[in-house]
Symmetry: C2
Subunit: 346 residues, 2 copies
DNA sequence: CTGTTAGCGCATTCAT
DNA sequence: ATGAATGCGCTAACAG
């Protein structure tokens, strides 16, 4: 309300600004009684230190930036939630950078670099060139990538185990007796999709099943492409037609399900489907989707912790993620969520 | 990278700090040539004004706070997206306050008040007492509520037309020939739910259909309560059993659908269902859910615009939303999205 | 333990 | 049209 300053508090408690400042910063060199008195004055007058002034004086804003590209907003709410849950327990706040269209993405980076507004940066599902970010990192701004889409870089990151997840999904299908298992891929310029396909082929090979190129098709995470691929798969001669499909994402799986229905076939009776992500909606789709759960919320939490600890290395902490020699790479395991979209092979 | 200051720029361009500052603030009293030269120097050296210093000097952080309670995180991604889309076109940034558990909600408000960190505040789906917010508003911090859950207050707000939406949903059912239409309510301490029920009863009355208390049941937005209510509805003697259900939310509708299936009945053949919200998943549920769409994204946009315009009243603008005499109340209309969960009454 | 003295980087009078 | 001086509110040596 009224703009009390540290000076007012000093006057009101009969001390100097510096002493009050020491109290604010929990300095141990202040007499406990004095400290308590000052705190009381602050409380009763509802004093709160001015943010900008503090930031300017100490050269640190206590703000951590989180940048999330517009297109994926809806998919990453859980990540954001995870981040928020750990940041709110620190004395940092989150500042949210978003570019709702890719074109302006570069500008966002500038805005960040600009102003030294944030003390650290969390980058969620980044699908653009990494150089600008590495540049920021070199410039002294700690950066942590969350859900990198598999891109390789020298930046510390937190990701899900795409390879392992895909492997588990396909193994599940194999265990259900399926032999002709198709794969509908996402955009293969993403490393994460390469990893998923690798998990698919490895699981097949380990089961002694040959990988049939005709069963590995394009999806691009786009409903129409997926639908077309699905139809092509369904149009194969009966003996070569897949009895199960591993989709690179839940969204892809939804499109597959619709295409299968449109073809007059039933899921899972005629064809089993496994997705990847475990979006909230996958529980409500009918049949409920069997899928690989990515631990989004935990990814957010881990990333936030990682960032916070590199910003403020706690005494016991390891060197920190930003030592050029070895950036931290946290890979979280996924889990198979069995629901109703798969059944044993006829 | 290196911490260039306004002083460096001044030196590099052979001018004084003040002139550079004038350039930064687009002062017209600077020689165009000089201005261009300075800008060029800034550009080539990648200079960006320090955020904290600017904020301190002008007493305004150019940060707008957005507070969203943890529980609704997943539901409000679209609102956030809308907010972000307009804020990114201003020279403000968003700072995100979240309390992942309700207990700490009060602390969040303190954090905001504290530090004068934000210049304005956007409050999303606020389900807590409004006094603290009104207090902030009185203290000079512009506040705008988004999706108020219907609570009344002196604060400017942007909401969806809950009454109209419910009315349209039920009218749709009536037009399909239904006469026994049930309503499964959300938590009735929320004004928005009161409004939805009011829309329901009015639509019924206007169609000359009596409102039957036994058809209006508790849902509380909780899956198990909804399931129980649905079963009770289904257990009614055939002649009194509803042929359609209006659910206060999409989530509620999902639970209804599952309960109906569990009872061995079919949607929409045995019973039609309309939801409220139009979450993304409602398109993928089977049968796809007929529902009332809330324009979440637009709500976010409007709220952001409203807030921005109260912070920086543009010349042509209306007085602004925070004039105590008449807070702005923007009500956005909803729309009926017809999909597959409703059919004509037998 | 507490007070003094300088800045942090920029905006803003007021001169020139 | 530009420069000099002052202060925003706080932290951080350095004294005492």
């Amino acid at each position: 309300m009224t703009k009390l300053t540290i000076r007012d508090i000093a006057r009101l408690s009969g001390l100097s600004k510096s002493t009050v400042s020491l109290v604010l910063n929990n300095s141990p060199r202040v007499d406990p009684a004095t400290r308590e008195r000052v705190l009381e004055v602050m409380r009763s007058h509802n004093y709160v230190p001015n943010f900008a002034a503090t930031a300017l004086a100490r050269g640190n804003t206590r703000l951590i930036g989180m940048i999330v590209p517009g297109l994926t907003w809806r998919l990453v709410a859980a990540i954001n939630y995870g981040v928020a849950s750990v940041v709110e327990d620190s004395d940092y706040e989150i500042i949210l950078y978003t570019s709702t269209n890719d074109r302006d993405y570069g500008r966002v980076i500038e805005r960040i670099l600009a102003s030294k507004l944030s003390t650290g940066l969390l980058v969620v599902t980044h699908n653009q060139p990494l150089e600008p970010l590495e540049e920021l990192q070199r410039g002294g701004l700690p950066v942590v990538l969350v859900d990198t889409l598999g891109a390789q870089s020298s930046l510390p990151s937190v990701v899900a185990d795409n390879y392992g997840g895909a492997h588990a999904a396909v193994r599940h299908l194999v265990e259900l007796g399926h032999r002709r298992i198709a794969c509908i891929e996402g955009p293969m310029e993403y490393q994460c999709c390469l990893d998923r396909t690798r998990g698919y082929t490895d699981a097949l090979r380990e089961a002694g099943i040959a990988v049939r190129p005709e069963l590995v098709t394009k999806g691009e995470f786009a409903a129409d492409t997926v639908a077309a691929s699905t139809r092509a798969l369904l149009d194969l001669p009966k003996r070569r037609r897949p009895t199960a499909i591993f989709a690179h994402s839940d969204i892809t799986a939804y499109a597959v399900m619709e295409a299968v229905e449109d073809a007059g076939l039933k899921v899972p009776d005629d064809i089993s489907i496994v997705g990847f992500d475990d979006l909230v909606s996958s529980e409500h789709v009918r049949p409920a989707l069997t899928t690989i759960r990515q631990p989004f919320e935990e990814m957010g939490q881990q990333a936030a912790r990682l960032l916070l600890s590199t910003i403020d290395p706690a005494p016991g902490d390891k060197p920190g993620a930003n030592t050029a020699d070895e950036p931290a790479r946290i890979s979280l395991s996924t889990s198979l969520i069995i629901r109703d979209s798969c059944t044993t092979s006829a």
